[in-house]
Assembly symmetry: C2
Homo-oligomer: 412 residues x 2
């Protein structure tokens, strides 16, 4: 049974992302060693060549390659020993025809040399003579000046997340600081007359707050700074003033809880009361996660997430994560979402028109990666603890057949 008022998950996501298309983001400049995982707010153009000189990639003899042509074990080329090249030093001589200079890996080629013969392919026949047993082509065993990066070349573009090797490349180019987007602040407003905070006694009919913890972890994993606003009772004025205050400091506000219809309507009214455009959608064709509310107050998204723990994780993946990625300034949510292919071990039914998220555990069965559905209501946090990821059944599909190959989106 699918309510016709529920909009497809893809449409809900797009509705929010379209509204965010023109927002401005705060930018800060950070020293490189603090820039890991941050999102670049500038294009990086190489200020210099990398490397700045031709380097050997092996331990050997720097040579003029033509002097080695035709050399082989049975008919070596004989070259005169030139001075040794020291690591980190500019050779004080030019290599003349018929000469070979000992050079370490990473050493700078002397003027005149255009290739390096590995030590293994040489032998010293006297104090001043080297036998070359193996011909080398021009540029063999050499990294050319600017072969890695040429001055003026684009290295990284604005909107890239700085991975370890990206930071390494910036260091290699002598770039000591970068402009990055400020991390978006994400406020979590927990609601529920029955919810008590960790550390307080939990009476009968009450439950402890789970979702603010799960969300804090998810937000931090995806580049946001989580700020918890505490637990509101299910009262319009309390929720309204808390959300209004959260909007002052946060770039994104999540109202969590309100699993009952009356309270959901209250969250929607709160969003509508705080500014334009207000609620954009209320109810998404997504399971778990149907009672999702999406709205904006000016440039700031305010999302109402259902209170079931599995629904919180599901709606985070479907809606909050893309919104957060956009607020972080990420150029694109990578095509390489962290999914592995596995064989599903049980048939699972779904409803046409609704995107279903099936929690699964991964197990290696007879050398094949298998996805075992973790059954249980979406209110149960332990279904998520036992799961390694989720399988998405797209809206048009009616279910999955046992043995089918599926993409498992791994939890972070």
């Amino acid at each position: 049974m699918l309510d016709k008022n529920y909009i497809p998950a893809d449409d809900a996501r797009q509705l929010l992302l379209d509204r965010l298309a023109g927002i401005t983001r705060r930018v800060e400049r950070l020293p490189l060693e603090k820039a890991f995982d941050r999102v670049l707010a500038e294009d990086i153009i190489a200020p210099e060549d990398l490397p700045g000189f031709a380097r050997s990639t092996v331990d050997g003899y720097a040579v003029r390659s033509r002097d080695t042509f035709g050399a082989r074990d049975t008919s070596p080329a004989y070259l005169n020993l030139a001075p040794e090249i020291l690591m980190g030093s500019v050779p004080a001589f030019a290599l003349r025809p018929g000469e070979a200079a000992p050079i370490p890996t990473g050493g700078m080629l002397p003027e005149g040399a255009d290739a390096v013969v590995m030590f293994e392919h040489c032998q010293k026949s006297s104090e001043s003579l080297v036998e070359i047993l193996h011909a080398v082509a021009p540029a063999e065993n050499v990294v050319q000046k600017d072969e890695d990066v040429k001055a003026g070349q684009s290295v990284l573009v604005s909107g890239s997340r700085l991975r370890p090797q990206d930071v390494g490349a910036l260091a290699g180019l002598g770039i000591a600081s970068v402009a990055v987007f400020a991390q978006p602040v994400v406020a979590i407003v927990s609601t529920g007359d029955e919810v008590v905070p960790l550390g307080s006694p939990c009476g009968p009919a009450q439950v402890r707050d789970i979702n603010s913890f799960t969300l804090r972890g998810l937000i931090a994993h995806h580049g946001g700074i989580p700020v918890w606003e505490g637990i509101c009772r299910d009262e319009y004025e309390t929720i309204r003033s808390t959300v209004a205050e959260a909007l002052q400091k946060a770039d994104l506000v999540l109202i969590v809880g309100g699993t009952s219809a009356g309270v959901r309507d209250m969250s929607a009214s709160v969003i509508d009361s705080l500014g334009e455009p207000g609620v954009l959608f209320h109810g998404v064709a997504l399971k778990p996660g149907k009672p999702l509310i999406g709205g904006m107050i000016g440039p700031k998204p305010v999302l109402g997430l259902p209170g079931h723990p599995a629904a919180v994780v599901g709606t985070f993946e479907s809606l909050v994560r893309p919104v957060l990625a956009c607020l972080c300034g990420l150029r694109s949510v990578a095509i390489t979402s962290r999914a592995v292919t596995a064989r599903i071990t049980k048939s699972v039914a779904s409803v046409a028109g609704r995107e279903d998220h099936i929690r699964v555990r991964l197990e290696d069965l007879d050398g094949e990666l298998c996805a075992i559905p973790v059954l249980g209501k979406s209110g149960l946090i332990t279904t998520l603890v036992r799961a390694d990821g989720i399988v998405k059944i797209p809206a048009p599909k009616l279910g999955l057949d046992a043995g089918e190959s599926v993409a498992v989106h791994l939890f972070s």
Copy 2:
């Protein structure tokens, strides 16, 4: 050409992991909100039931299910309206036969009730009478007391990394602090006469330090605390005293650089000079990364990584990451390594007996995920910047054929 002295990458890894089997790790107790991503150092047994009472999963009427048996649109069951159940409150009454009590999602079932009928399947026929249009089975629309977790049940085991939902589950059980393993400290000792630190002028024949930046990011991503010891010149005594000092504070020491054979031998001598067992292997059948050195000083691994930027990332993935995971206390390196399946667009040759790592860029070509080899010498950092991950060619394999399906291990 494969040197017979090079041991297989799998053997090198196992040699170190076997030595680490019995080590003791420091344990610290953290408040839950600081425990994200940390590794549990204790088994968690549920101290209480979750939930502590039977809860409704819908907005509706709490009923005795047998009172609804046979009810349908055309022949409803008529039940007397009982008092409304409030969220977070213990119902002050027991439900008598023939009664229905309004209940919100998450509300506590009153004594006597065993199921909930959704509001959509009911209508009020008078102030005191409710029509039930749909029969419910016992337990329908109810989460039972202890259905999520039963007191005394195992929830998480020592050695698990605490994901957002795991922390959520602990919060749900009222567990406010946990014992976790201290994060291992990983010292990075950079070496090289030609290497200058970021911020210093880089003369001709010199290169800037890239690897300490890449490694700091990789170490932090995988749960370690990176500490950079600066750049040593290629002098035995300097490297020896720096490594000796690093061993005082670190759980793992990485000596980086020394791409030339002479300097590699120096690193190996340093490791052997500092204690038992010293060097365990010198040279691994891995490309890039062959000149890898593995040793232990007492319980602390000391690894010598080659200085080529791509070799640093390759050896990190193959050897440092599993060692670091072990030092972190992780029970097992997950079978869910973050790999995606793609079709390789070019044939790539490999040498039998050597594990080859091919850097690839992922691209969606005509709806199919393709892995495009990123060519370039392993000394080039930009080959890593342009890549999304690596494809491993296992030691026995002779290469990859264009069009073959491959697993791409994504960079973090």
